[in-house]
């Protein structure tokens, strides 16, 4: 469903992606792990055209991702994104945040969108917060609203960019819980994360990225429990046993 082939990307003189080839199948949950600065987030941002890429090709359902082409809107409505810092619209309520896309981009009828928006807020456990503005919500609640906003577009896949990295530790569980339920329901997900427990339990596949290349990939349990590559072993040791 999402295909990357030999994707290269530089910021100025720094090459952050040095030939990424990967694919994500429908219904699959893929976690991308790796040290900071390895290019994990850049991959996600290239998939929905928030960044351009220099070489190679990315396609979503056979449609080439080109952030300067009109077709990018089509891709973005099919592939939603959840950000590390939520990026909710602070001047709109939780419900308004959720219905913004369907109402103004997809131009669906208001009554239908409102109903779906409320249902989605209930699904992420925030039915009673529909009229709250983002600054009145905790980080965990904001991120769950952001997930509802992503779902409201009825996407074929959702990209998660370190969705729990900006949260207080005790709020991480709520967000991961919502994501796990999505995965169980068959949503296609690409998740950049440092939550190894989530990757092990929920992901079908894990990609370990370091220095702009995929160092190792495979079924979640085998990559995380028996990493083959020395760099993967080293990274996992440091993440799982920081002391």
């Amino acid at each position: 469903m999402i295909e990357l082939s030999d994707v290269h990307k530089s910021f100025g003189k720094v090459e952050v992606l040095k030939g990424i080839t990967a694919s994500v199948e429908k219904g699959e949950v893929v976690c991308i792990i790796g040290p900071s600065g390895s290019g994990k987030s850049t991959i996600l941002r290239c998939i929905n055209g928030l960044e351009s890429y220099d070489r190679g090709e990315i396609s979503v359902e056979g449609l080439r991702v080109d952030r300067d082409a009109p077709s990018i809107v089509n891709i973005r409505t099919q592939v939603s994104m959840v950000f590390q810092r939520f990026n909710l619209f602070p001047h709109r309520t939780a419900l308004e945040n959720v219905i913004e896309g369907p109402l103004f981009v997809k131009k669906e009828p208001r009554a239908q969108v409102l109903e779906r928006g409320r249902a989605l807020l209930a699904q992420v456990g925030l039915a009673e917060k529909a009229d709250a503005h983002p600054p009145q919500l905790s980080g965990g609640q904001q991120q769950r609203v952001a997930i509802a906003r992503a779902l409201a577009m009825q996407p074929k896949a959702i990209l998660f960019d370190e969705p729990t990295s900006a949260l207080d530790p005790e709020l991480v569980g709520d967000v991961l819980g919502v994501m796990r339920k999505l995965a169980d329901d068959g949503m296609t997900m690409v998740v950049v994360t440092h939550e190894m427990g989530f990757a092990r339990d929920v992901a079908d596949r894990v990609l370990f990225i370091d220095g702009g290349v995929i160092v190792e990939q495979g079924p979640a349990k085998s990559v995380l429990n028996q990493p083959q590559h020395a760099r993967t072993q080293d990274f996992l040791r440091r993440v799982l046993h920081p002391l």
């Binding site: 928030l50 973005r76 939603s80 990026n87 896309g101």
Partner: protein
């Protein structure tokens, strides 16, 4: 003091005519400068190089010309080019153009102060440039822009007196006319100053209100 009150009662109605014109000039040029300023600011942040450069140079040209020269140009030079404007039209146009440069810079600063994540979130749900501006950026920028906008309103109210140089009989010119025919300079100009101040105070309070509201977030 007694003389002042007697003069005040006598001149106040005449000066009120001036106040009416002052308000018309202020509101007219405020509206014009807001619209033009928005256009310049939008061009500036459009991401299209030609538009943004055109807007930047326009703003610099406007900023580099004194308001009074702009007014003279519109009122005295345009007729030579076949465009005759009434004094009031020239005043509103001149002040509106002059202030559009400051408005544009103010609006641009407000737009650029919006977190980039907001724009990315808008893009990620498929919004194009204009929808992102209208639904996400501008509503948030308004909060940031309002306090300086209020200050511009106060400055415009006072700078509307420059319209007197091209014969618009607003408050300052009315005062000058009365003063030069009655020689009661003290009474007349004290009265004029008080009337400007009276009009400014609500605006000053409005700015304070804006600032309080902007500080809340």
């Amino acid at each position: 003091m007694k003389g002042f009150w007697r003069d005040a009662v006598e001149f106040f109605p005449i000066l009120l005519n001036g106040v009416a014109l002052t308000i018309i000039v202020t509101i007219g040029s405020l509206l014009l400068s807001t619209v033009l300023g928005l256009v310049w600011a939008m061009m500036r942040v459009s991401g299209i190089k030609a538009l943004s450069m055109l807007s930047a140079s326009l703003i610099n040209v406007i900023r580099g010309i004194p308001i009074i020269v702009l007014l003279f140009y519109l009122y005295f030079v345009m007729p030579d080019l076949g465009v005759t404007l009434s004094a009031l039209q020239a005043a509103i146009l001149g002040l509106g153009i002059a202030y559009s440069a400051y408005q544009a810079e103010n609006f641009r600063a407000g737009i650029e102060a919006i977190d980039k994540g907001q724009i990315e979130a808008a893009q990620s749900i498929g919004m194009g440039w204009w929808l992102t501006m209208r639904r996400v950026v501008l509503p948030q920028a308004v909060r940031i822009v309002l306090p300086p906008y209020g200050n511009v309103m106060i400055m415009m109210l006072k700078d509307s007196s420059q319209a007197s140089t091209i014969t618009v009989a607003e408050l300052a010119l009315q005062g000058k006319l009365i003063a030069s025919s009655t020689f009661k300079n003290t009474s007349v100009f004290t009265l004029v100053a008080l009337m400007y101040l009276t009009m400014s105070i609500p605006l000053i309070l409005l700015v304070r209100h804006f600032e309080k509201r902007a500080g809340k977030r």
